[in-house]
């Protein structure tokens, strides 16, 4: 059997990150995990260890402390003995109305969803490019493909993140580092629980986790999960503004 994959997951306690980590655990990967809550991280790490992962590092950190990014990535690289995959998965879903009325809330969500994710990508890219090897995955969202009335505070940060990942991937094209932009639709996680969504559009978190795992392992550049969202969003993006604005989405 080949040596275990060395995987760093930032925002490891998010619902989607846990599902991706479960898929890696099933293939006996070596994991370094970073999240805000120490207790929740320990809960997740224990689960992954039972499932077969070797968890070599658990760090609790507020990823909005941008100056810590380099040290975190460096520490994980040392603990893992190298970086094969880095997944940036932290994020928040702000209440749209509250955020459009209170600029501080909007900015706070952008700090998490865009600023910290972008600078973290840069920190990870630096280490991976130096090693000339690795896959850098970032969780964006279909919400970033076109701003919609009921979540454009969130969507705008994801749009920026998608653009950033695109540019970073472009810059790193000859470095041996692959950037994977992941755009999930609504997923059955606590982040969206209680929201009135059509259940047919909400994907099972384990299906999504398995799909992201595969995309990271194959180094796909832009991946919609589930795949149908590629076509749904292609249509939505192509709609003329006047028509788009008439839709209740």
């Amino acid at each position: 059997m080949s040596s275990p994959r060395r995987v760093l997951i930032l925002g490891a306690t998010s619902g989607i990150a846990q599902a991706v980590a479960r898929a890696y655990a099933a293939s006996l990967a070596r994991l370094a995990l970073v999240a805000r809550s120490r207790e929740h991280l320990a809960t997740v790490a224990a689960d992954l260890a039972v499932r077969g992962a070797e968890v070599v590092l658990q760090r609790s950190a507020d990823l909005c402390e941008l100056e810590r990014h380099r040290a975190l990535v460096g520490e994980a690289e040392a603990a893992l003995g190298g970086l094969d995959v880095v997944l940036i998965a932290h994020g928040v879903l702000p209440d749209q109305r509250a955020a459009q009325e209170d600029p501080r809330r909007a900015v706070a969500s952008w700090d998490v969803n865009f600023v910290s994710a972008a600078t973290l990508m840069e920190a990870a890219a630096e280490r991976m490019a130096a090693a000339g090897h690795g896959t850098l995955g970032v969780l964006s969202s279909v919400a970033g493909d076109r701003g919609r009335a009921d979540n454009y505070v969130y969507g705008s940060a994801k749009a920026a993140l998608t653009a950033y990942a695109s540019g970073l991937g472009h810059r790193l094209r000859a470095s041996g580092v692959t950037v994977v932009t992941i755009k999930p639709g609504p997923v059955d996680t606590p982040m969206i629980a209680g929201r009135a969504l059509n259940p047919r559009l909400v994907a099972d978190v384990d299906v999504v986790g398995g799909r992201i795992h595969r995309a990271l392992e194959r180094g796909e550049r832009v991946v919609y999960v589930p795949g149908k969202w590629r076509w749904i969003m292609a249509v939505l993006r192509a709609l003329p503004v006047r028509l788009f604005e008439r839709l209740k989405l």
Partner: protein
């Protein structure tokens, strides 16, 4: 993306009763509980009636509480969060030679649900119910207290089969069963009467770990009680354990005519004449036949269906129940018969007890269906049996009380911050 004009939120498996059901997702076992009326944990929604629905407050969705906490592959002791499904447990432990000690007809039930309903399986005559195999439980009460419950404690006995009413079950520690492999050597034996079924069961109880019978729910007169008896034992298989299958989903709701008595009759006759011989079956297929078709409950259409599962001390009670169901034209796709053993459960409201349990699925056709089911309840009361709350959406308070003599003892342990629609209905 909202769907106006439809009931929203989680449903029960029988899709009756329906209504707007608010729900709150729990991401972590220590998340604050919501305000706004009494709460109730909801796992995978496989309870058929209203015991998994809330009357006045929100449901707590527990499916994200699905992390393993510890597993010792030498002793077979597993601890996991209560939203973990039995299928997920099986998938983890089977390759290392273990299996959950009790497996129901579907793998899509959570550990918390398995505890709260004290579920049983085809090996009840050997292993008893799920509650017998628990080593400890984590329970959160609405007063903020957090408990580790162990067998022998009153609150443990109330929580096992406690319908989720004693608080939020946060984790479950369970003793798994050592197994030789992931395969079952299966036999199917046709029988023409309940006497024959009784005789085959008599011969099989000591030799087979798993026994269950399928009954032709529509046969009348001389043919009443005909069916197929399945029995099996775990065996070693070829190489690696069988993989967990992915169920294929029913595409949509069924048109009503599919469920007409004529169609049911044809379906039953066909089933009865299918060859059912297979010497070796994977544990997934053997234990979880209901999972062959995902979302099959929607075949019963918009109005939903009832399952009537009862236990009566002797086979004459089964005959009387079948006589009611077969003559009222309230047909049953699937009637399952199983003889429980005498191993008792710690659960105060535990359903399994010595005798025969019969489960029938009945499409909801309104008043006539309800009348037929009440007639069946009357038979159960006459024979001194009980109706299974996990399947129920309509039994009377009296039927419930007669079937569960430890009800008053149990009621003292109910958490005032927890309530179900079932509980509100039968206890007022």
């Amino acid at each position: 993306m909202e769907q106006p004009g439809q009931a929203t939120g989680p449903e029960s498996w029988g899709r009756y009763p329906r209504g707007d059901q608010p729900a709150v997702g729990l991401a972590w076992a220590d998340d604050p509980l919501p305000n706004g009326g009494p709460v109730l944990a909801y796992g995978m929604g496989r309870s058929y009636g209203d015991s998994c629905l809330n009357a006045d407050g929100p449901l707590l969705l527990t499916r994200s509480l699905r992390r393993f906490i510890a597993f010792d592959a030498d002793t077979g002791v597993l601890r996991a969060e209560a939203g973990t499904s039995l299928g997920e447990v099986t998938e983890l432990v089977l390759a290392r030679g273990w299996l959950p000690p009790v497996l129901p007809g579907t793998q899509f039930v959570t550990l918390g649900g398995a505890v709260a309903n004290d579920i049983h399986g085809k090996n009840h005559h050997r292993a008893g119910s799920f509650g017998r195999h628990l080593r400890a439980l984590g329970l959160r009460r609405s007063d903020g207290s957090v408990h580790t419950l162990r067998p022998g404690e009153a609150l443990f006995d109330a929580t096992v089969a406690g319908l989720g009413l004693t608080g939020l079950i946060t984790w479950v520690e369970l003793q798994l069963e050592r197994v030789p492999g992931g395969w079952v050597k299966t036999e199917a034996i046709r029988f023409r009467s309940l006497e024959e079924a009784d005789a085959v069961d008599e011969l099989s109880r000591d030799t087979h770990a798993y026994t269950v019978a399928w009954i032709d729910g529509l046969a009348r007169g001389r043919r009443l009680g005909r069916g197929v008896y399945f029995r099996g034992n775990l065996v070693e298989g070829p190489g690696r354990p069988p993989r967990r299958p992915v169920p294929r989903n029913v595409p949509g709701e069924a048109p009503g005519f599919l469920l007409s008595p004529l169609a049911l009759r044809a379906f039953n006759a066909l089933y009865d004449h299918l060859p059912r011989w297979r010497s070796r079956t994977s544990v997934w297929k053997f234990f979880h036949p209901l999972d062959a078709l995902g979302g099959w409950n929607r075949l019963y259409g918009r109005r939903g269906f009832f399952q009537h599962q009862s236990v009566v001390p002797d086979i004459e009670g089964v005959r009387a129940l079948l006589a009611v169901s077969s003559t009222t034209g309230q047909g049953s796709f699937l009637s399952v018969l199983k003889r429980f053993g005498s191993l008792s459960s710690p659960g105060m409201l535990s359903f399994p007890r010595p005798g025969w349990t019969l489960a029938l699925d009945v499409p909801n056709r309104g008043e006539g269906t309800l009348a037929c089911l009440e007639q069946m309840d009357a038979v159960v009361r006459t024979y001194g049996g009980a109706v299974y709350p996990a399947k129920d959406a309509r039994m009377s308070a009296e039927t419930f009380r007669l079937g569960f003599p430890r009800l008053d003892e149990f009621s003292a342990h109910v958490d005032p911050g927890f309530r179900s629609r079932f509980w509100a209905r039968v206890m007022g």
